[in-house]
Symmetry: C2
Subunit: 312 residues, 2 copies
C-alpha cells in the first residue's frame, strides 16, 4: 500500500518533525473499541491509509493471535505496541505469580505479532494497601522476573508511566524519571539490542530490552519532561502515544480528547521525542466513552488523520 507524502514538505523529508506526515500515524485499538472488532480495525487502517496498529489483548482474543498476526502482516501494518502486560502488585504471592505469568504470555503474543514493544501498565496498590513504596518494589521485582523471557523473545518492554491520578488503581510508576530509574536499575547500560522496523527507510536506533512508552496524556504536565526525554534517548524510547487533555476533564478514565481539542502542545512534544532519536509511529489512543467511542469509527479515523496532520 502506498500513501502520499503530506503537503508542506521542506525538502528535509520525513525526518523533519515540523512536517505533517500521515505515514507516521498508528491506531491504538482503544480509540474505536466499542464499535469495531479487530478484523474491522485492521481493514479500516488499510482502507484509511493508516500504517500502524496497536492492539489490546481483549481485541486480540477475538481473532486469536496467529490469525491476527497474519491479517496485520497482510495489511502491511506496523504493530507499534501490544497493550498490555504488567499489573504486578498483588496482595499475595499467587497474585504476583499470576501477573508475571500473564505478562510472559503477553511477551509471546507480542513476539508473534512482531510488535515493536510490549507496553507495561505496571499496576497500583493491592486492594486495602496504602504501601506505595511496597507496590513500587513489587513492580521492580515483577519486571525483573519478566525481562529474561522478553530478551529471549526479542520483545522490548516499554514501561508506560501513567498520570499520577492513576497511582492508586492502575500504575504506581507516574513519571518518566521513575520509569527510567527502573530501566537503569534492571537493564543497566541499556544498549540497543532489538531491531526496529524502519519507517520508509528512516534509520532508527536499535531498542533496549527495557524502555518507556511516552504518552502525551500522562506526561505533558511534568516539569522534568524535556530532560527525561533526552535521558531516555533513542534506545529507550519505544513508543509515543498521542491524544489531548480536555479542559474541563469530566472523568478520570474515559474523557480524553482528540488531538487539537485540548491543551497539550503535541507538536512540541513530537519535536522533543524525535530530537532524542525516536523514529517510530505516533500512536493515537483515546478513551472517550461519551464522545469518540459513540461515533462511526470511519469518521473517527478521518478526524484522527486530519488532526494528526494539523497538531502532531
Amino acid at each position: 500500500m502506498s500513501v502520499p507524502v503530506g503537503a508542506g514538505g521542506t525538502g528535509e523529508g520525513p525526518h523533519h518533525p515540523d512536517t505533517p506526515d500521515p505515514r507516521r500515524l498508528s491506531l491504538n485499538t482503544a480509540t474505536v473499541k466499542l464499535r469495531w472488532d479487530l478484523a474491522r480495525m485492521i481493514e479500516g487502517c488499510a482502507r484509511h491509509g493508516i500504517r500502524g496498529i496497536a492492539p489490546w489483548r481483549d481485541k486480540l482474543a477475538e481473532l486469536g493471535v496467529a490469525e491476527a498476526a497474519r491479517r496485520i502482516r497482510a495489511a502491511d501494518l506496523t504493530v507499534t505496541g501490544l497493550c498490555r502486560g504488567g499489573m504486578f502488585p498483588a496482595a499475595d504471592d499467587a497474585g504476583r505469580r499470576a501477573a508475571i505469568d500473564d505478562t510472559r504470555r503477553a511477551v509471546d503474543d507480542a513476539a508473534t505479532l512482531g510488535a515493536q514493544c510490549l507496553v507495561l501498565v505496571v499496576g497500583g496498590l493491592p486492594a486495602g494497601s496504602k504501601d506505595l513504596q511496597g507496590a513500587r518494589a513489587q513492580v521492580h521485582d515483577g519486571i525483573a522476573a519478566v525481562l529474561p523471557h522478553a530478551r529471549a523473545a526479542g520483545v522490548p518492554l516499554a514501561i508506560e508511566p501513567l498520570h499520577p491520578m492513576y497511582a492508586a488503581d492502575r500504575a504506581c510508576v507516574n513519571t518518566l524519571a521513575q520509569a527510567l530509574d527502573l530501566c537503569d536499575a534492571l537493564d543497566p547500560g541499556g544498549p540497543g539490542v532489538h531491531a526496529r522496523r524502519a519507517i520508509d527507510g528512516m534509520p532508527w536506533a536499535q531498542a533496549s530490552a527495557l524502555g518507556v512508552a511516552v504518552d502525551a496524556y500522562h506526561v505533558w504536565w511534568d516539569p522534568e519532561l524535556d530532560a527525561q526525554i533526552r535521558r531516555a534517548g533513542a534506545a529507550r524510547l519505544h513508543a509515543f502515544h498521542v491524544c489531548d487533555w480536555l479542559v474541563p476533564t469530566r472523568d478520570l478514565l474515559e474523557d480524553r480528547g482528540m488531538m487539537g481539542d485540548g491543551v497539550i502542545d503535541l507538536r512540541g512534544l513530537r519535536r522533543k521525542v524525535e530530537a532524542a532519536g525516536f523514529r517510530g509511529l505516533h500512536e493515537c489512543e483515546i478513551f472517550s466513552s461519551r464522545d469518540w467511542w459513540q461515533r462511526d469509527p470511519d469518521e473517527v479515523l478521518d478526524v484522527m488523520k486530519a488532526r494528526h496532520a494539523a497538531h502532531c
Copy 2:
C-alpha cells in the same frame, strides 16, 4: 479554652508523631463551606475543641476581615493559612497585574488575621494557551512581584503544588521539587525570618518568606516526596493539609475523601513532615460535593476529629 491531651501518650509528649493529638487539628473552611458561614465555623471550631482554622477569602468577605480576625482571636484559634492568592498566568498584562494586585490584598488580609501563611494556588494555562513553560515563567514573575510586599507585611507565602490533574486550569506548579526550585530561586538561602505561633509550647523554627504547603491529596503519589520534604525543611514547611484519595475518584475537583476512607498513608506523611521540622497544625481540607458537603457540619467535625486521631 483548654483541650485535653489525646489518649495514648508515650511520655514523649505532643512532639511525637505517633501520638494522636487533637490539639493539632485545624479546619479549612472548604470542608463545611456549603452549610456554614464563617461565623458559624469559628463558633463550631471553638465548640468542638478544634484549635485552628484556615479561611477562604469568599468566607472572609462575609464578615469583613477585621471582624473575622476579632472573632478568630476571641476564640483563640490559630489561622493555619489564608486561602488563597495566586492565579498569576493571564493572557495579557492587565490580567497579570490584576492577579498580582489581588494577591497583595490577600497578603494584607493574611496579616490582619495573623495567618501563619498565605497559600498560593499559582494558576494554570491562560485561556487558549498551550504554553506551559510560559505559564510557569509567569508564575515565577508573579511571585517575585508579590514577595517584597509579603516580606514587609510579615506574611510567609506558601506555594501549594497541586496534583498534576490541575496543571491546565488551576496550578502549573505540580510537584514539591518544582515549588522548592521556585523558593530557592526567589528566596535564596531562605532563612527563617517570620515568627510562628507555638502550639502548646512546641518550638517551631522561624518561617522563610517563601515556602510550601504540603497537601497530602496533591503530593502523596510523588516518587520524590520523601527527599523533597527533607529538602524543604522546617523553614519552608508552612502548612500541612490532610484529606484522602478515594478509589475510585468520581470527580477531579470535588470528590476528596475523609481521612481513612482512601489510600493515603497519612500518618506516614505526618511523620515525614514532622521529622523535617514541621510543628504546625494539620489542616483538614475536603472538597466533597456529593458526600461531606451535604452533611450536618457538626457531624463532619465530629468525624474529622475521630479520623484525625485514628489516621493522622
